[in-house]
């Protein structure tokens, strides 16, 4: 097939050029290490207080069970919670934890709280507050949160002792005879926010960390009594690297940079080897040539992104929460955008060096505009219209016209917040549709410039 012959020709040329090969392999490694060094060790250096909204739907510990525990002080004293929890439920305990957790700093004991908590009765109002950025995130405790927590105790107890709490009996002086403890109860705490908003991203990381500490403590259950949450130590900032937040942006940056390499190769055919004349005079049609080059760009990008992904996971401590394959699919769609840019550059520049260098100059600001490294300034075009992964509507901002912005958002949602590619459908559409439109026009432009009319000497 002619299209494949063209793709293979480009790939052969690239793989035989030792310098390109070094660039191809070393660039992701270099970018990964550079960003890991720049952002990884820095951590969160500003002790910000994040405002979070809470919807507490927790129905608490069932009345029967609560009454029984109150009547059985021996058991209650051996469980890691007290009568307040029986009254208000575990979510309330947890909210206290959030309210009181402070930052740990090296020099002196900081009094700075990590969260400022606002409770809402109505989830709609809470979501509106997120959309308006009055709060950084909205945490929704489900109705069965307390039961889930009790079930976690019970399951942990069973795991250690091969018997559920409510089956304990025949002790010399005590046996359980209340209503059954919950088992295998599941629920999920929802953290709602705009995945593209940096304050949400950081608040989310810290919340996740606190939840995981909490869950660990349940598993390592002891019978000391008191309130479980109070054993949570102040949070040290250094524990939170923002490399994770940055990494989806690095992936998109790597995809964007591919445009330079592609343009350089295309321009070389035109300006350096001058073989474009042979291509034009042959039976190769412009669309076949373009399709071949596009396949080439996909193959190269796939290799590069795989290297970057594996390297980040294996060597740089990136811990993808979500599906890496779905993330790769989003990246492959983003390459359509890069390819379109590559053809535009190749239609403009007259030497492969300037094409490559200019691409470098153009792609870096483009990555910044896309929010790849830090949040770009908000310039709202349409307020509260764009659906995010967690179902909120955020503002459609200027940078949303760039497919790469949506690629960064979709990747963050998938890789960091465990959403599926279907949850970020809106971002995916905004990656692919404008890219295809741009690709269409850039192909026409490229064809006009390089396949029609004069070929200068």
């Amino acid at each position: 097939m002619l299209i494949l012959d063209i793709a293979i020709r480009f790939l052969k040329e690239l793989f035989r050029l030792k310098i390109s090969l070094v660039v191809l392999l070393a660039m992701p490694a270099f970018m990964g290490f550079m960003f890991a060094f720049a952002f990884g060790s820095a951590g969160l250096d500003e002790a910000e207080t994040y405002t979070i909204g809470i919807i507490n739907n927790d129905e608490g510990i069932g009345d029967g069970l609560a009454a029984y525990l109150r009547s059985d002080p021996i058991l209650l004293n051996n469980l890691p919670f007290n009568e307040t929890t029986l009254d208000k439920g575990f979510a309330a305990d947890f909210i206290d934890i959030l309210n009181t957790t402070i930052y740990q700093t090296d020099e002196e004991k900081s009094e700075k709280r990590i969260f400022s908590v606002l409770e809402y009765d109505d989830q709609e109002i809470g979501q509106q507050a997120v959309e308006e950025r009055q709060i950084d995130a909205l945490v929704v405790f489900p109705e069965n949160y307390s039961n889930t927590t009790l079930s976690a105790f019970n399951n942990a107890f069973f795991f250690q002792n091969s018997i559920y709490i409510h089956n304990l009996s025949y002790l010399p002086y005590w046996s359980y005879n209340g209503p059954p403890f919950p088992i295998n109860e599941n629920s999920e705490i929802l953290i709602i926010g705009d995945e593209g908003y940096s304050r949400y991203q950081i608040a989310k990381i810290i919340l996740d960390k606190i939840f995981s500490i909490f869950n660990e403590q349940i598993k390592a259950l002891n019978y000391a009594g008191g309130n479980l949450g109070f054993s949570l130590a102040p949070i040290t900032l250094e524990e939170y690297s923002i490399f994770d937040i940055i990494f989806p942006g690095i992936l998109v940056f790597a995809v964007l940079m591919q445009a330079g390499m592609m343009a350089a190769f295309l321009v070389a055919e035109f300006a350096e080897t001058k073989t474009i004349a042979r291509v034009r005079l042959s039976l190769i049609k412009p669309y076949e040539y373009i399709a071949g080059v596009t396949i080439y760009a996909f193959v190269i990008s796939f290799i590069q992104l795989s290297i970057l992904m594996v390297l980040a996971i294996v060597a740089l401590g990136f811990n993808p929460a979500g599906n890496v394959i779905e993330a790769m699919i989003v990246l492959m769609l983003t390459i359509v955008f890069t390819t379109a840019l590559g053809f535009l550059l190749a239609g403009v520049f007259k030497s492969s060096d300037t094409a490559g260098q200019s691409a470098g100059f153009l792609m870096t600001p483009l990555a910044f505009m896309s929010g790849a490294f830090m949040e770009a300034p908000t310039i709202t075009i349409l307020p509260k219209v764009f659906p995010t992964a967690s179902g909120l509507n955020r503002d459609f901002v200027l940078w949303d016209i760039l497919p790469s912005t949506h690629a960064v958002n979709a990747l963050r949602s998938i890789l960091l917040y465990e959403f599926s590619i279907l949850d970020v459908w809106a971002d995916v559409l905004f990656v692919i549709i404008p890219s295809l439109v741009l690709l269409f026009f850039s192909m026409i432009f490229y064809t006009k410039r390089r396949f029609r009319g004069d070929i200068p000497n």
């Binding site: 035989r16 042979r278 005079l281 004069d454």
Partner: protein
Amino acid sequence: MQTLSELTDIAIEVTNLTKTFGKGEQKVEAVKGISLTVKKGEIFGFLGPNGAGKTTSLRMIVGLLLPDEGKVTIFGMDPKDGKNSKTLKKLLGIIPQEISLYEELTVEENLWFMANAYRIQKESAANRINNLITKMGLDSKRKSLVKNLSGGLKRRVNVIMGLVHDPVLVLCDEPTPGLDPQSRVVVWEFIQNLPKEGKTVILTTHFMEEADRLSDRVAIIDHGEILVLNTPKKLKASIGEGDLLEFDLADDSEEHLQKMADLLKGFTTSKGLTVEDAYISEGRMVMRALNVIPNLAQILNRIEEHGAVVDNMAIRNTTLEDVFINLTGRALRN
């Protein structure tokens, strides 16, 4: 069905082809309305100095440049008509002036890419490629990367790149500049044999020996215009009869050579011989006159009186270079 051109034996017809580059100060009238016909099976030479408009003309003929004015007809077909495009692409083959090859591919891979680009069936492509490689003496290099070849070998590959699809019409733009003598002979023989395979060739060159040896007819082109068009033999005869006498002078500065040429031009000896012409060519002074030998002493005397020291002297045949100088007053090389 036979087309008109098959009946008329005309491969290419060009009328009033014109091309101007740039605007204002930078305006270059590269080709100024040239007209010519190329017959089937001939080697048609375009001879002219650098910048004469040879490449521009060739590129307009194959369609890589759009003419400002004028018309090209190839085997009776109009290249501007989209429905002829595929047929014409298969008929045309180019040998570009600049080496245009994929440096990171081997010789064979380069040729195979072209075979695929013309959708040639595998078996016949393999035959054709082997054949071309052998003819160019590249058998031992077929698996070498082009970037590792010497300039001469690259040129040889450059020549056959455009011939993989066995075109009937070969447009060959300065195939031998900077070539070692051995490669030059290989390329010349190759081109010379193309008409035997039924091909028609247009050859551009600024190298008069090349035009003379290879072409059936030659158009001498300068400043975008065709000055004369004829067989090399007739062109050489056109500048007049007589012998050419070539002097190597000890002082070969242009000034000195010109001074001596001026002394001789129109000089009449006591035996009634008049020097028809005298000029500089390739660093020598050249004069033309009938029956030179009996008058040689007087001629020598004439220039030696004015300080010329003659290192060497020879009688030679007229070349196309002499024709060009006769037409333009300039040498081809400049």
